[in-house]
Symmetry: D2
Subunit: 357 residues, 4 copies
C-alpha cells in the first residue's frame, strides 16, 4: 500500500502504464481555492514525453480529465480526482518482460512481490508514466503555495558528470532546459546525445529550492521536512540519493564551518549561510529549503543486456524494445518540483493546526 | 506529530532531554516473541555516552525499565513501553538557550514552532538523547530479524574526510570502533582528537547493510524500502544525506554500467553487482540492502559562535556550556542499525499480509 | 479527509452526485485474486435506483468502469480504481438548495464547513449515490471473503415499526425484499406505500451477520471489530444507531443472563448463546458477528418544510423537488453488507501479520 | 494495533492490568496550553475504584505521573506521557483464567489471538483499568475544550431497566451519582445492591452531550462526528451499542417527524428540535451533539458459570475470584465524557486546517 502520501492532505496515485487510465485523488484541499487549469496543463507539459531529442517518442497529450472535487474551477472541499487515459500503448513491445526482467527495472522484484500476477506491460504501476498524476497533484499544490508567496524551483545540477554553474535562482524558471549556465546546459545535451547514439543512457542530479517558506514548518523526528520530502522524493522512479544543504559535503566539514551563524536582517532572524538547507531539527528556519536528488541513468537501454529467463531459470540476453528516454533528468525536474510542493503544502496544513483558531 | 513511525508496527518516542523520563511505545509486535534483555542492554550500551574520549562526559546508565508488553521476557501482543529516567541533567547549563539559540541546533526553529513554549533544556525533544528509545525499539527488531536470518550491520565509512577501506562485512560486528580497516580507524580517531583539542567537531558517513533479506519486501511509490528507510533515518538528529547503492555516484554512470546484470546462483536469481543497493522499484531483490548516511559535525562546539538574542533581536556571541561529543558518528552507528531494523521489520510485516494465510 | 477507510486495505471514495463521475480506489488487495465482474454487477444492481415503487425514479446503470488494478479479471497487486459516470443528473432540481438547506440533510452543515463553496447539487459528496462506489469495494471484498468460507448476509429487520420475524439466516439471500417472514415484508411495503402517498418517508432497521469468521480477528481498544464496523457503517448516510448482539437490550439484562456460556461443539469452543454478537474484547470468538443498524427516514420528503434562507437569514418554506426514495432501507441492505465485508476483510489482513510467515 | 486513536492528535494507551504500569502518550497538543493538574486528578477520581458500595474494592490512587510533554504545567508541544503504577494487584486471583476463560470477557478471544501468550492476569490489556489512561487524555482534552466554551457532560440514563427522568443538562455536573432525577437514581442504586447481593451484575445506558460546539466540525463519510465518536466509544470495555439523537427511535418515525426544522435564533441558524443529535452528514450543526451508549452488565459475577478448560477441552464450572463492580455504569460516566472530549478535540484540530491561516 505505497501509493498514498500525506498526513494532512492525502494523495493516492493509481494506474498502470498500459491500463485504461492512470490518475490521482487528492483529499484535504480546503474548499474555495481557485485552480488555473491552463497553468496546470502548461506545468504538466514540462513532464510530457515526445517533445525533444532526449525523451521517449511515446506521444500522449497527458491531458487530465477532472472527475470531481470542483464546482467550475474552484475546489468544493471534497476529494479531487483526475485521470489521464492511456492511448499510445504498445503492449506487444513488452511481451518478453513477463519472464525476462529488465536489469535496473522493477520487473523482477514486482514478479516476486506479486507472485507472477504483476502487470508487466510498460512497467505497470512502476512506470515513470505514473509521475504524470504526481504532477497533477503537485501542480495544484504549487499554485496554492504561490498564493502564499512560496515558490518551488528546480534545475538540472548535473548530467553524466557535466555540472551546472552558479547558484539556483528563479532566473531558471521558464527555461526549456533548466540550468543556470546555458553553456553547461549545451554540454549536458551533448552528453545525452552521445549516450543515445551509443544505445546507452546517463543519469544526473537535480537541485530544488523552496523559497518564501516561513520558519516553523515541519515536525520533530519522523515528520521533519527532511523526512517528508524524502518519503515522497524516493517515490520518483530512479531516485537513489537525497541530500539537504551541504548534505554529504557536511560529513567533511568542521562544526565551526558547517554551523550557520544567526544574524538579523530586516528585523527578522536569518542565517549568514545556508549549509543546513533551511532545516534545523526537521523544522524550517526561514531560509530557502534546499535539497539535491541523484537520478540514476535510465535502466532501459538499446544495448543487449544479460538477464535471466524466469520460466527456465537460465541466463539469457535481453534486447529491450519500446521507446525510451536516453536521460530522464530533464523530464524529472518538474516531477521533483511537484513532489516538493506536495510535501511542503502538507506540512503547511499541519502548521495551521498549531496556529489557526 | 512527528514522533511516531511505522505502518505495520507503530513506534512512538516520547520525552525531553531533561524531563523526568524518556521512552518509547512499540505496538504491533506479535505475541510469543522472546526478547533477550541482556543482549538488548549490550546493544544500548554501544550508543550510551561517557565511554571514551570522543563522546560526551554525561554519564547515564540508559537502562530501560519495561512497563508493559511482556509476560516474563516474552511479548504478549499488546503495546510494549519502556522508559529511561533522566538523572544526570544539568539544566543550568542551558539557561541561556531559551533566548540565544545555538547555531546548527533546533533551538531557534523550536522556539518559532512552539511559540516560545518549547522545552529548551538540553535541546528538549530534539536532543540526541532521544535516540536511546529508538535503540530500544531497534534492538528488539534486530533480535526478531535475526530469528529469520536477517542481520543489520553498519560501519563508520568516513570521519572528517578520512575514509574506511574495503567492503562492509560482518567482520565489523563487535568492534569498539566499527571500521573494516583499523588503520584508517586510528586516523579517524586522531581527526576527532584534533577537532576536540581545537574546540571544534567533525562529521562523517555511516554505511549500513541488511543481509539475508528475501526478495519481494517493500511497496511501490511512497512505501518503497528507500522511502521507509529515509523516513526513519532522517529522524536521527544530524543526518543530512542518504543514498542507496551507488547513490550520487550513479548520477555520473552510464546505464550500461549502473544496471546490475541478473544471473543465477544456487538456483536463485541474483545480480552480479549491487549498484542498486538491493532495491528495485522500492522492492528488495534479494541482494543486501545497502545505504550510506551523511552525518553533519556536532553543532555544539566549544568555540564562541555568533547568534541572536531573541529577546532583544541583537546579534550576540554565544558560548555553549554543557558536555558534548566532538564527533557523534561512532555513537550514531547503532542508531542507524536500529533505524534500519525498525524499517525492515515493519516492511516484513507488510509482506506477511500478501503471503500469509 | 473523511473519504478514506482502512488500516490494511485503503478505500478512497470520490465524487459528487452531479460531478462528471464518482468512484473509488481500493489499495492493498493482494495480487492474484480473480474477481467475478458479473457477480459484482449483480450485487451493485441490488443498490441501484429505479427498480421498484419504493425507490427514486432516477435511473442510472451504475455500471462501473475499471481503470486499473487488474490484468484481465485478476488483481495485479496495485491500486484498483473504478468509476461510474453520472448521466441522469438534473441540477436544476437543486438550484434553491445552495441558500435554503433541506432539513435532515447535510446542506447546511456542508455550507458552514466549506464556507459556501460546497457542491450543493444533489447533496454533492454527501449524496446517497456515493454508496455505489462503496458497494464496488464491498462487492469485491465479499467475493474475497467467500473464498475463505466467510459470508456476509443482511435483512430488513424493521420498517416504520413493522418488524420482521425469526432469526436471520442465509435463506434471506437472493430475495428481492430481504426479510425472513414475507408476510411481515408485505406489511413493510404497505407502510412505505402509505408514507409515499402521504408525501412522507419512513426509516427502519437492518440486521447484518458475518458467518464463518474464525476466532481471533480484531484488535484491542480502538480497532476492535465493533470499532472497525462502526467507523465504516456510520459513513452510510442516514445511519443513526448501531448495536452488536443484544446491544441496547443488554443494558437491561443481568450479567448471568447476558454472559454467553462457553461449551464445546465439534471439537471447538463455542458459546451456547450469542448475546455478545460474536465479539469479546473487540475480537471475534468464532460465533457469527451480528449487528443492527438504525436508518432514519429519508429526509427528502414531498411535504413542504420549514427552513431558513441563508442569504437573507429569514425563515422560509421549502418544497423539495427531485426524485427521492420514500424509504431507503431496502436499498441500504447491500450497502450495509458492503460495509461489513470491507471492515472484516481489512481485519482479516491485519490478522495475517500475526499468523503468516 | 488498536491501542492508538486520533487523526490530528494521536493517543496511545499502553499497559496491562498487572504489568508494572499502565499509561498513555498524547501527541499533537499545541504548545502553550496550561493544564490544571488538580482538576485533572479530581476528574480521574470520578473513575477510580474503591469509593462506594457499587464498585470494586481494588484500591489504587490512580495518580498519574507525567514523564514528559510539559515545562512546569504548560505543554511544550511534544508528546505528553503519563503513567500510573499498578500496585494493588493480586495475580493469584487470576491463576485459573489462563486455561478457563471467563464468559463475557476477552480471555478466550485473547487466547486465540495471541496464541496462548496473552497476559491473562486481570484481563491484561483488556481490563477496564485501562480506561484510567483514557481519562488522563480525556481530562486534558476536556480542559482544552472548556477554554473554547465547549463542555462535555454525561449522566446515567438507565441501570438495569430503571430510567432517569428529564433532559440532560449541566445541572448533573458534580453529582456523585450523576442522574437528573435523584429519586430514580436511588432506585438504580437499589437495583445494583440487589444484583450484588445476588452475586450478579447489571448494565445500563449513559447519555452524553457536547455543548457549545460550533457548526462545521467533522468530515464526510468515515470521519464524521458519529464515526469519530464511535471509533473511540466502542474502545470502552462493555459498550455494545451507540446511537445519536433519536437513534433507534428514528427508525420508527416519519421523515416529517424526524427532520429538525431550521429556524433563526439570536441571529444564528438553529433547529427547533434536535432529533439528529447535532450532526448532519457527519458535521456538527451547532446544536448539542447528543449520543447514548449501551453498557452490558459486568461479565465478572460471583455466581458459578459454565466455561471450558482449554487445556483439556472439557466443559467445566468456573468461579471467578477477585474484586469486581456489580455495575460499572457509574464509573463509566467520566470515561464516556473522556472519550467524547478526545474525539471532539481531534475534530476541532482538523477544522483548524480549513479555517486557520
Amino acid at each position: 500500500m505505497g501509493s498514498t502520501y500525506g498526513e494532512n492532505i492525502r494523495l493516492t496515485i493509481f494506474g498502470q502504464s498500459h491500463s485504461p487510465a492512470i490518475g490521482m485523488t487528492l483529499e484535504g484541499i480546503p474548499a474555495g481555492e481557485k485552480v488555473d487549469f491552463e497553468a496546470l496543463e502548461a506545468f504538466l507539459k514540462r513532464r510530457a514525453p515526445g517533445q525533444n531529442a532526449y525523451s521517449t517518442a511515446r506521444k500522449e497529450a497527458d491531458k487530465p480529465e477532472f472527475l470531481c472535487g470542483f464546482t467550475e474551477n474552484v475546489t468544493c472541499g471534497t476529494p479531487i480526482t483526475a485521470i489521464i487515459r492511456n492511448t499510445d500503448t504498445r503492449s506487444q513491445d513488452y511481451e518478453n518482460l513477463k519472464t525476462v526482467p529488465r536489469p535496473g527495472h522493477a520487473d523482477y522484484t514486482a514478479n516476486v512481490k506479486y507472485n507472477g500476477y504483476q502487470d508487466a506491460a510498460g512497467g505497470g504501476h512502476f512506470s515513470g508514466r505514473l509521475t504524470a498524476p504526481l504532477c497533477i497533484a503537485g501542480g495544484i499544490c504549487k499554485q496554492l503555495l504561490m498564493k502564499e508567496g512560496i515558490r518551488v524551483i528546480a534545475r538540472i545540477a548535473a548530467i553524466g558528470g557535466v555540472k551546472d554553474q552558479g547558484e539556483l535562482t528563479e532566473a531558471v524558471t521558464g527555461k526549456d532546459f533548466p540550468v543556470m549556465d546555458d553553456i553547461q546546459g549545451a554540454k549536458m545535451q551533448e552528453r545525452i546525445a552521445e549516450a543515445k547514439a551509443d544505445g546507452d543512457s546517463v543519469g544526473g542530479i537535480i537541485d530544488c529550492a523552496v523559497l518564501g517558506l516561513p520558519a516553523g514548518i515541519g515536525d520533530p523526528m519522523f515528520s521533519g521536512m527532511e523526512n517528508r520530502i524524502a518519503k515522497i522524493v524516493f517515490g520518483i522512479p530512479a531516485v537513489k540519493g537525497l541530500e539537504f544543504g551541504e548534505g554529504f559535503r557536511a560529513a567533511e566539514m568542521l562544526g565551526s564551518e558547517n554551523n550557520d551563524r544567526f544574524t538579523v536582517a530586516d528585523g527578522a532572524v536569518k542565517t549568514e549561510t545556508n549549509h543546513c538547507g533551511g532545516i534545523l531539527g526537521g523544522i524550517t528556519n526561514g531560509m530557502p529549503v534546499a535539497f539535491a536528488v541523484a537520478i540514476k541513468p535510465t535502466p532501459s537501454i538499446a544495448k543487449p543486456q544479460q538477464s535471466v529467463d524466469l520460466s527456465t531459470m537460465e541466463v539469457t540476453e535481453l534486447v529491450i524494445k519500446g521507446r525510451h528516454d536516453p536521460c530522464i533528468v530533464p523530464r524529472a525536474v518538474p516531477v521533483v518540483e511537484a513532489a516538493a510542493a506536495i510535501a511542503v503544502y502538507d506540512a503547511l496544513l499541519a502548521r495551521r493546526k498549531e496556529t489557526g483558531r
